[in-house]
Amino acid sequence: MNLLIRNGRVIDPSQGIDDTLDVAVENGLVKEIGKGLKAPAGAETIDAAGNYVVPGLVDMHVHLRDPGLEYKEDIVSGTRAAAAGGFTSVACMPNTKPVIDNKAVASYIIAKSRAEGFANVFPIGSITYGSNGERLAEMGELKESGCVAVSDDGRPVVNAELMRRALEYARGMGILVISHAEDLSLVGEGVMNEGFTSTELGLKGIPSVAEDIATARDVMLAEYTRSPLHIAHVSTRGSLRIIREAKGRGVQVTCETAPHYFSLTDDAVRGYNTNAKMNPPLREADDVAAVKEALKDGTIDAIATDHAPHHIDEKDVEFNVAMNGIVGLETSLPLSLKLVEEKVLTLPQLIEKMACKPASILGIDRGTLKAGAVADITVIDPAVEWTVAAENLASKSKNSPWLGEKMKGGAAYTILGGKIVYKR
């Protein structure tokens, strides 16, 4: 597929580019970036004036629910949602049925996404067999099968010795460990953040220290074992302080946050809104401020959605019974663009956290528009206004706390390997 994307504001932090330029795509690869480029033979031309042209966005934390839980989402619907949200690559967590703890499941996901998907799918294998926290999974084979990291997301590794060995073993295999940092004994039966709102609503609280302690443990283990570690969906001031301090000492730790942690507080739970129920839970204003501060100072490397589709039957129930998680792929970009408006991040910094950094953390050859790179490109219309509505979401599940709300900005075109997979 040949394309010429003309007159957009091309932002590629991997090359330090931020200028009004053309991007030429030939045979699915970026051919060149420059001014007044000639269209490659037979190229379709996209007029990107007023739009941003950036490396295809990378979401390093999604749940595609396939195999096994296709009633919530599958690889086709999930990658369609990714494309609609401007993402060309997603890394999917292993809590499928069966768990991604073997080559067969990883290969199935890769094969299905290549055949039928609208985005690149990079599976994340499990740390332990069945993610049950008992025995290390075959990380070597998982890596060879195409897994880009290992994680027991949603089911934190409780045993500290096992986590230590996981970090060491994974280092040997050259695969990254992603930690879902929550101390389950402190989480207990909590269903929302512990604070004034939980007091008023009479809901059992999850204290922020549950995340802080688990983050501290895993960061210390990473330091002790000299192993790289990535902390998923950071939501508390305390864990950010620990990560910032560790980075300062040279510990190989990276982390991500999700748009809901810088956009919402636990006030969103009022009315017992199950679409505001997730793990870790929405925190308080002080934590939201800390997340923004950490995005700004670089403590947070990446923005990931933790896209967690759930069927209406799992959300349209009493609060305690509702499943944890929200869909995020289609709202991440406008919510993140707000950070630029609020001057938390510059536009290149935002693109770095949504494309370049997640790609480099996972070690995938994406997140760049260098000549010769695979032409995964997102054209962003920063001005488009739209309303989040269940019937407009490509995801099978509609569990978004933003239903009915106005968004500004979104993908105009999502281009995967030179092919337009989404057009607004």
């Binding site: 009479g202 609280g205 009315g271 129930v317």
Partner: protein
């Protein structure tokens, strides 16, 4: 000025005027309860379903008697005899019940906020008979009525609430109601049982000791301590709890000389309250139960759109 709410789920949702109206209606309902023939035709032809997902003796009986005194037809459903044990969802149960055209569903449920969920599904009135650790508005109102009987007002009173505040829906309704009516609420309990930021709920002071809370109090409300919490992480055992957070004739002397003592029941005698206090002259526990019927009559009456003659 009528009552504008279709449902009564939480005293947090009601204004001072709403609560004053309910209390004054309850006062007139009390007259019916003292008659020889304790029945008026006010809610004749109305159907009330008592849907109790948690065990309850006094609250369910009280709601049922309240309904019957107003001539409504009542049906009691509890999980052991319902479809809940067959795995039917609350929404499906509610929709099925709604098809039988009830006017009011009175529900008790273990999940905080379950009633807000219910009101999204049904068009009839919903009254909360207790939801998780959230609220128990009829208890809050009957507590207020009992205090008002004694002092003729709620404004400017010092009310101590002692016990497991975190897990208590009674405490939340009492706090919401009493502080809106002008009382100052003092809380005491082991810090493991006092929720964060509780003082932000209103004119509330969280005290370090029970002594501080009950000192010069006009009212002392003791909460039931869940025996199953013994030996877990919130407290060592009932013995130690009783020693520091139990009400006995000795520490009751700290309260005002004519202070009244209340308890939502059922009481663990010798744990949160000594029998000398329960059965003593200050105890208003049985008055609370008596007022419970009148308050619930008032609630049923007003959600049905009643106007006082």
């Amino acid at each position: 000025m009528g009552f504008k709410h279709k449902d009564i789920i939480a005293l947090r949702d009601l204004t001072k005027e709403d609560m004053e109206l309910l209390l004054s209606t309850a006062e007139s309902m009390r007259e019916i309860n003292s008659r020889d023939i304790k029945k008026v035709p006010t809610l004749r032809g109305k159907t009330i379903i008592n849907l109790f997902y948690e065990a309850s003796t006094r609250t369910r009986t009280s709601f049922e008697i309240a309904a019957k005194r107003l001539s409504a037809d009542t049906v009691n459903i509890s999980p052991s005899t319902s479809s809940a044990t067959k795995g039917e969802t609350l929404a499906d149960t509610a929709l099925n019940l709604l098809s039988m055209k009830p006017d009011i569903i009175v529900m008790r449920h273990a999940v905080s906020g379950a009633h807000y969920f219910l009101t999204q599904k049904v068009s009839c009135s919903v009254i909360n008979a207790g939801d998780g650790a959230h609220e128990h508005p009829s208890q809050g109102l009957l507590d207020m009525l009992t205090i008002k009987d004694k002092y003729g007002r709620l404004d400017g009173l010092k009310v101590a609430i002692v016990g497991d505040i975190t897990h208590s829906r009674v405490a939340r309704s009492d706090i919401q109601g009493l502080t809106k009516m002008g009382s100052h609420v003092f809380l005491a309990g082991p810090p493991t049982m006092v929720p964060p930021a509780v003082e932000r709920l209103g004119n509330v002071t969280a005290c370090a000791t029970m002594k501080e809370a009950i000192q010069d109090a006009d009212v002392v409300i003791m909460l039931r301590i869940q025996q199953e919490r013994q030996g877990k992480t919130l407290m060592p055992n009932a013995r130690e709890y009783s020693r520091y957070f139990g009400l006995n004739p000795e520490n009751l002397k700290l309260a005002k000389p004519d202070a009244i003592v209340m308890h939502p029941g059922p009481i663990n005698r010798g744990v949160e309250m000594s029998s000398y206090v329960v059965d003593g002259p200050r105890s208003h526990v049985l008055k609370q139960v008596e007022n419970g019927v009148a308050v619930r009559m008032a609630m049923l009456y007003h959600v049905c759109g009643g106007e006082l003659e």
